[in-house]
């Protein structure tokens, strides 16, 4: 019904490596065999359900005071010395913007590869599912372009090794 100014083309690729393929100098979590893994997941589900049951019982008895949303709670004022200590924890001396992808002539093309990547939060190394290997996805900026476009008729599809929406999508 409407003319459209921006088509957001997004290409998500789920690329999840078996953990054993990771390089040796990249310490990775230990790999479990399938049966042990299934049992571990079942165990976590049961503990999570138990945690909810316990929370529910205590909360219903009024033992879990709700979060306090009060403007009356006065913040602690950091001293200059405490501030110096805090600044030592600052991970970046400047403000880090995420990568930016902009629309061109009413079209924005972006490929998001999903894979586990090593990053650092504070001083902790982490190995987490990611968009393009980062801890935050790129900022997508759509600018009104005035182009009138029709919605494509492409169907969902999967691919094996080549082709697809971005030839540069790497299988790393």
């Amino acid at each position: 019904m409407k003319t459209c100014h921006t088509v957001l083309r997004y290409c998500a690729t789920a690329l999840l490596l078996p953990l054993s393929m990771a390089a040796q100098d990249n310490p990775q979590p230990p790999v479990m065999d399938a049966t042990a893994h299934r049992q571990a997941v079942e165990g976590a589900r049961k503990r999570l359900q138990n945690a909810w049951r316990e929370f529910g019982e205590r909360n219903a008895r009024g033992e879990m005071a709700p979060d306090i949303f009060s403007l009356r709670v006065q913040p602690k004022i950091l001293t200059t010395g405490e501030m110096e200590g805090l600044m030592k924890q600052a991970q970046a001396a400047t403000f880090p913007e995420p990568d930016v992808v902009r629309s061109v002539n009413g079209k924005l093309n972006v490929t998001l590869n999903v894979f586990k990547a090593r990053n650092q939060i504070g001083s902790d190394p982490v190995y987490l599912r990611s968009y393009n290997g980062k801890l935050v996805g790129p900022t997508l900026r759509c600018r009104p372009g005035g182009h009138s476009l029709h919605h494509g008729e492409q169907q969902p599809r999967s691919r094996t090794r080549h082709g697809g929406c971005d030839e540069h999508a790497a299988w790393v």
Partner: protein, 608 residues
Amino acid sequence: MADVMNTLHGFNTTNLHTHGLHVSPSGISDNVLLEIPPRSEQKYEIVIPKDHPAGTFWYHAHKHGSTAANVGSGMSGALIIEGGLDTVPEIARVPDRVMVLQQIPYVNNASKPVCPAISKDTNLTVGVIEAEYADCSFGPRTWDKLGRYTTINGVKLPVIRMQPGSVERWRLIDSAIREVIQPELVRVDHSGQSAPSKLNFHEIAVDGLALGRVATRSKLELWPGYRSDVLIQAPPVSGVQYVLRDARVPGGGVIIPEERRYLAVVIVEGPPNPMPLPTDDAVRRFRLPSIDPKRVTARQSAAYGIIPKGDGVVFTIDRQPLDFDEARQNTLGEVQEWTVISRNNVGPVSHPFHIHVNPFEIFSILDEQSVEQLDRDPKTGAVLPVWRDTIILNEGWKVSFRTEYTDFDGVFVQHCHILDHEDEGMMELVEISKPPAPMPMADAGAMEPKRLGSPYPAPAWSLPDATGKVQKSADLLTRPTVLFFYEGFACLRCNEQMTALVEKAEAFRKQGVQVIGISTDSVADLGKALDGSACPFPLLADPEKRVFRSYGCYADGPLHGLFVLDATGRVHWQNVSMTPYLDVDALLREAGQVAAPARSGAVASRQP
């Protein structure tokens, strides 16, 4: 044990959601029912309407079962539609920072005391989020037990440098998966400085949608999924420092170490660079228009709740966990009024309500004492409705909003934005169907005039009249109406129909029925109908035939259409055909029956 579908599962399967965008939920658009399994690829094409509000939206993974794990790992990003507020000079000239707030609940060796799955044999030298540790990353009180830091754009404690007096726009996006974040800007103690002890947030938009004013606040309350566009003005003195601090005080007696509260540092330095803040008048016109309560055609309610079951709990909406075979049914064109609450059987719990595709205008938030919690106009004291796409439901509170289903039919979801609640079942499918469409070409029977068993809401429009003034259905369709579609002044058969309608114009008026014509003519050509003599009812121009299409009056070209609508804009009788309907006396009777209950004050029945 709840069924496996409503558990944290399938962490390696993902998909994409464009949170807050008013776009199609179908096909390869904002379709969260798609699944992208490992080693496969999915193309999306999301068409953003030309008149889409500009603002701060975001995208994130949304596969049921892995949403918390994916988003909690950092699979989210900003999606900004430029324009709107960006064009206000006081906003256009200032630095524009994207701030994706994250609470990434990884477990590692240091988590052993609070995570039983990490045995003495496990060696987690790197932090991970995995299903076998799901009870440590997700669930009640896990965030505070893990002791992690809130990050911005993936970084712990970023440093922002501002010149004295300067202004910045911060686009805060709360992608945290379960806890509220309550930012405040608190000065670091410096003796001799005259700078204020706190900096204010001058909020101009929430959830990407303009407030229409500049709301000055000393603290924000950001629930998972919320956005807040704020202007920050540095004090006029150099050498002063502030910390962006989370003021949340968790329940259950948990004490948060002070340093875990700090999100960012603001250092004011360099030469003064004073900048003005915009006035309310400068931003007012960017707010979405309010929905007139008189236009409401349907009501909905939803109650979010955790319910004990067996050895655990179930996460529900209206006491049912997610069932992919059930969808809440709606019709395109409806204007709905919703009441949403949080009602749990495990003591009080808060749930952020979120619905895809269509934003909503909240007109009331009542707390447990029925005290209105929405902002009020500082001058008049009037409650100020607010447009959002996500809103917190506290136990015992009642949130009421209106929403309009325009443009997009299809299946999407509403859910709790505490994402492990969502993965565990606190989600519901919502379906918007097209209204029963007239079938002009399908068979001869469909071409007969038709009184409908169940009236449906007429599609909305805004079209120019012969003077070029734009007329809106919302304003005009508040009385019983005969709406006729005609091909234009050059069509002789149309003129025959119009002449017949003009002759009976007074009879329609006496029955309380208005007549409106919609033509394929341009504004300039509208006046040429009736050989240029004045028409006793409004004629509207639809040269692009969009409204013709939305009423089903189009099949390889425009068709003739006649619709009888009641005072709430619902279609009771219709005729769509290759030839115009000329039995105006019969039309007068039909219109009179539709109008009769409106005159007597009754609504339900058209039959005497």
